[in-house]
């Protein structure tokens, strides 16, 4: 089913080829400029917290890779939930013999951010080969696993914030509510201070987006964090599903 969704979206995307090409290009320029800005900042300092320039570049590249993958999979779907709920179109989702949460979260696939994600993956590989090689056995796998846990965690928290539309009515930018909170992951979580650091590592575990995965290469694999990431991802996903079920009980539809 998901393959059909992706194929359908590819056809749709190709109707706006120039938008796809130009958006991909702008996306790439934005990420490159953000990375270059850190080079300028490190012209004035040698360390930020305990982070050197290559480590900071790897963190930023990891953040952008994560962000573009997230946009590819979820962002376009999240922007549609408000419309589904307030126009009553959610009826069509709920009457299908498929998980409603799956359909509203993954029905559309955005190719516009995919080029950015691939570019950042290339940069991550180059940075690792240039500055962090050789790696200890399993470090790459742990890095990838932690990113997957981060994806599930961010999806779950972000999705949960969208559910407010079931109570608050029409909020056409509800998909942006979590973004300012999520912004904090673009900087190393361990420099955020004694209150935010544990909060963003253990309570709202946003550190799993970039900081914790990159620390695999800078401080070595931490198996406790790997285990915690698995637990946090599973708990977040479970909680988001419970909230979805709870929110559905307040759905009254809007059609005649």
């Amino acid at each position: 089913m998901y393959r059909s969704f992706v194929g359908n979206c590819l056809i749709r995307e190709m109707e706006f080829r120039w938008h796809f090409i130009l958006y991909s290009l702008i996306n790439l320029i934005w990420m490159v400029l953000a990375l270059v800005t850190f080079v300028f900042i490190y012209g004035h300092v040698s360390l930020i917290g305990s982070w050197t320039l290559p480590q900071m570049l790897l963190l930023t590249a990891t953040f952008y890779f994560f962000d573009r993958v997230f946009d590819t999979l979820f962002e376009i779907n999240f922007s549609r939930l408000n419309h589904l709920v307030n126009q009553g179109d959610l009826d069509l989702v709920l009457t299908k013999p498929v998980s409603g949460q799956f359909l509203v979260s993954l029905r559309y696939f955005s190719f516009a951010s995919l080029f950015g994600a691939i570019s950042m993956l290339g940069l991550i590989i180059w940075l690792i080969a240039r500055y962090f090689w050789p790696l200890a056995p399993g470090e790459l796998l742990i890095y990838a696993l932690l990113l997957c846990f981060g994806l599930v965690i961010i999806y779950s928290w972000w999705f949960s914030t969208l559910l407010l539309v079931f109570w608050l009515g029409n909020i056409d930018n509800i998909n942006q509510l979590f973004r300012p909170i999520y912004e904090v992951v673009r900087i190393p979580i361990d420099i955020t201070g004694p209150i935010l650091k544990p909060l963003l590592t253990f309570v709202i575990p946003l550190a799993f987006v970039a900081t914790v995965p990159v620390q695999v290469f800078t401080r070595g694999a931490n198996y406790y964090m790997l285990l915690y990431g698995l637990v946090a991802a599973a708990a977040s996903l479970w909680l988001s599903h419970r909230l979805w079920r709870f929110a559905l009980r307040h759905y009254t539809s809007a059609s005649s």
Binding site: F16, H19, Y23, L25, T37, H44, I48, I187, I191, G193
Partner: protein, 266 residues
């Protein structure tokens, strides 16, 4: 002008009804600067000065960014692009005696007024939390008047340009990419992301000849009290120049756009 007063009042009511929407946009504009405050506190650990900025200067800078971002950055483009894409542009603007600019101006001002409900208390709270760093900061009446003038001119100039970005959907079908491009340049060359002083001289020189610096960094420098008399005159001349360019660009794009516009559906 009565019709625009009515449009303003209608938008004000709408913005008040959808105040959650307004809050989220405020939050999106306000929070990134808070993240950068945290970032710079870490950068300054053990350092007295970076690119001529002390930590207090830098925190004051982002305090200004937070306030100015929420007040003077209009967002008319995505809505206009959506109207064009869905064929609603003609019923709203072409079949009624309504100017695109004035209608969008009324709408943006009303939404920004409601946004002040969040901006003012949030700024007071952040100002209180950063009081150790902002202790000497004052905004005398004369500088405040100059700042308000710069903010108004910047707001109108940006509005003209951003309407053009929205109207680009007439040619491209979707103008999201060009809006993203503008926002990127504004963040980098306007100084909303990082102070322009940390960039190399070449980038700073380029920024002198583009509008972004005058739309954002110039009002910010007035807010911070960094602009001297010569800088103020130079800044206002450039701002005036870009305002005229923006107005002429708007007229050109609108005239050509209406000739090219086509809509589908019944």
């Amino acid at each position: 002008m009565r019709k625009y007063w009515l449009i303003f009042k209608l938008n004000l009511v709408e913005a008040f009804v959808y105040r959650a929407t307004s809050f989220i946009w405020f939050f999106c504009d306000f929070a990134p600067a808070l993240v950068l405050v945290i970032f710079w506190v870490a950068v300054f650990a053990g350092k007295d000065s970076i690119a001529g900025f002390s930590l207090a200067d830098m925190l004051l800078y982002y305090f200004g960014v937070m306030i100015i971002s929420t007040v003077i950055i209009p967002h008319p483009a995505p809505w206009l692009a959506e109207q064009i894409r869905t064929g609603q542009f003609a019923p709203v603007y072409l079949l009624k005696p309504v100017s695109v600019f004035w209608e969008r101006l009324c709408s943006q001002i009303s939404w920004r007024l409601i946004r002040l409900l969040f901006t003012v208390p949030a700024s007071i709270l952040v100002g209180y939390l950063l009081q150790d760093y902002l202790g000497d900061f004052t905004l005398p009446l004369k500088r405040l008047s100059i700042l308000i003038l710069a903010l108004i001119l910047s707001f109108i100039g940006q509005l003209f340009f951003k309407i053009c970005l929205g109207l680009a959907a007439i040619w491209f079908g979707d103008s999201f990419w060009i809006i993203a491009f503008w926002d990127m340049l504004m963040a980098l060359l306007g100084g909303a992301y990082f102070p322009l002083d940390i960039y190399p001289p070449l980038v700073q020189s380029i920024s002198l000849y583009l509008p972004f610096r005058y739309f954002f960094y110039f009002p910010l420098s007035i807010f911070l009290g960094q602009a001297d008399s010569a800088g103020l005159i130079r800044g206002f001349l450039w701002l005036g120049f870009w305002l005229i360019v923006a107005g002429l660009t708007y007229r050109l794009v609108l005239t050509r756009g209406i000739k090219n516009y086509s809509a589908f559906g019944g």
